[in-house]
Symmetry: C2
Subunit: 296 residues, 2 copies
């Protein structure tokens, strides 16, 4: 059986200026996602600021999440770090806290070579936590080829991949290529919210969604429509969401979802500096779109 299917919701992590996690607000946010019926939760993803948080704060967030979610949906947790030993320590923390899976991104400073990424994943996988390959070239500046995903999928604890979904013209070929290289129980999931419906229609197992981290209902409707092969309903929902997708492309989903979470009453929901809250025209643009979107 595949480990990750359907909708995986990636919330922000509410933090103060010093990077201290507001666990009470985090639990309120997670309770909303569980109540909506998402299929899994991706804590401490890129949207959840994992790269900016200390090991201690990541562990506080994990423990608050485990307490709140209480096994009702699988909990995936970002364990990416610049160093292999750090990523392994984060994997051990996650394993001890009883989360279901680690999301491992090849965070880089010196640009990494393919064999270095392979050995990095191999080392972290030996901790024993099931891992999802977190392929996010826009932030890590490393891009996984289908061939490398296939080689990593042979390792015992690497059970899923989150790939950025390309546009409708390319997703079919990419998905077929990946499918041919991985075991049948390996989960092939996709991010990039505005392409995700098409990726699910093309056979993708899961949608790793920033939108669903705050607005799970509409993301679930889109997910269920795509899982049911209802092409026209997917297209209709994407038309409804296009103003939001435009915001994500213009300002990044990271910045947009922080402002949106703040609007929805989840604390100040500020990004971590140097990333700044959206201001002036950009903030007004987001506010206007969210008001008209009818998302909540």
């Amino acid at each position: 059986m595949k480990t990750i299917t359907g909708l995986s919701a990636f919330p922000i992590t509410p933090v103060d200026e010093a990077g201290v996690v507001d666990t009470e607000t985090l639990q309120r946010l997670l309770a909303r996602l569980v109540a909506a019926g998402v299929d899994s939760i991706g804590l401490l993803g890129s949207t959840g600021s994992y790269a900016y948080l200390t090991r201690a704060e990541r562990l506080r967030a994990i423990e608050a999440a485990v307490e709140c979610v209480a096994g009702r949906v699988p909990l995936l947790v970002g364990i990416g770090a610049l160093r292999t030993d750090e990523a392994s320590e984060l994997a051990r923390d996650a394993l001890r806290a009883d989360v279901q899976m680690g999301l491992l991104a090849p965070v880089s400073y010196v640009p990494l070579q393919e064999h270095e990424v392979f050995e990095h994943f191999q080392a972290v996988s030996e901790v024993g936590l099931p891992l999802c390959i977190y392929n996010n070239p826009g932030t890590t500046h490393f891009s996984f080829t289908p061939e490398l995903v296939g080689r990593l999928a042979e390792l015992p604890n690497i059970v899923a991949v989150k790939n950025p979904a390309p546009g409708v013209g390319e997703i079919g070929d990419l998905h077929a290529d990946l499918l041919a290289r991985v075991p049948s129980d390996f989960s092939l999931g996709y991010s990039v919210d505005w392409h995700a419906g098409q990726a699910l229609l093309a056979g993708g197992d899961a949608w790793y969604s920033a939108l669903a981290g705050l607005y799970p209902d509409i993301a679930l409707r889109l997910t269920r429509a795509a899982q049911g092969g209802r092409t026209e309903e997917v297209a209709q929902l994407n038309r409804q969401l296009e103003p939001v997708w435009r915001l994500f492309r213009a300002y990044s989903s990271y910045r947009v979802m922080h402002l949106a979470a703040s609007r929805e009453g989840f604390g100040e929901a500020q990004p971590i500096r140097p990333v700044l809250p959206l201001a002036d025209e950009a903030a007004r643009d987001v506010e206007t779109v969210l008001e008209r979107s009818g998302l909540t």
Copy 2:
């Protein structure tokens, strides 16, 4: 008077597998640079693994360097970090340790916007340590425009820039553009070793050099030739060094200089994982070139 001129040598930082700095080996390496007569030393640059080291280990490296260099040449220290508050803390550490300047790179995970980088630099500059803008798009994935350098140069403590030198066809225009935007005592320096001679000939104030971090003598010959306007001597030295420049382009100067330092007796000199030591063909290629280069 400009703060940074001539040759700035960027050594590796000798560390063990756990990221603990070998201060004794570091001091031997720094002593070699001081004895050769370099004009400044760039400790904890990209070549010096700053991005991979904890605050405590960076401070140990700084204190060992301050002790060894003892004011004989200016000491510049990498203070880049993913978070603004962390970079400010590193600047405070450097200031207290009495180094002459901080090298501030806009390390990123979420891609940064120009106004975010401006505010990041402004916040860190308020610590009071003189700063060099460390423009290294290959690792930070942010590129400074001359216009942004000009705006930052107006801040009291931002006194220098290290830009990647473009090729001979573009350096003249870039340097003239920068020169028109900064105060007359602002230092305009360049990295990218294989373009540095031309950058100095075009009027650049300083060469920030990975090669010089281990092989200061030949880098000084090239620097002095360029400072003296001896175009033919610069060209001759670049021809001699071209096999080394090829290695830097093929494997990165970070990986090559670690192997070279190990060959020269500076400990194991391993990169920090996930970056791996060069092996097999790549290692043989580097060994062969270094043997034939007559660098030491």
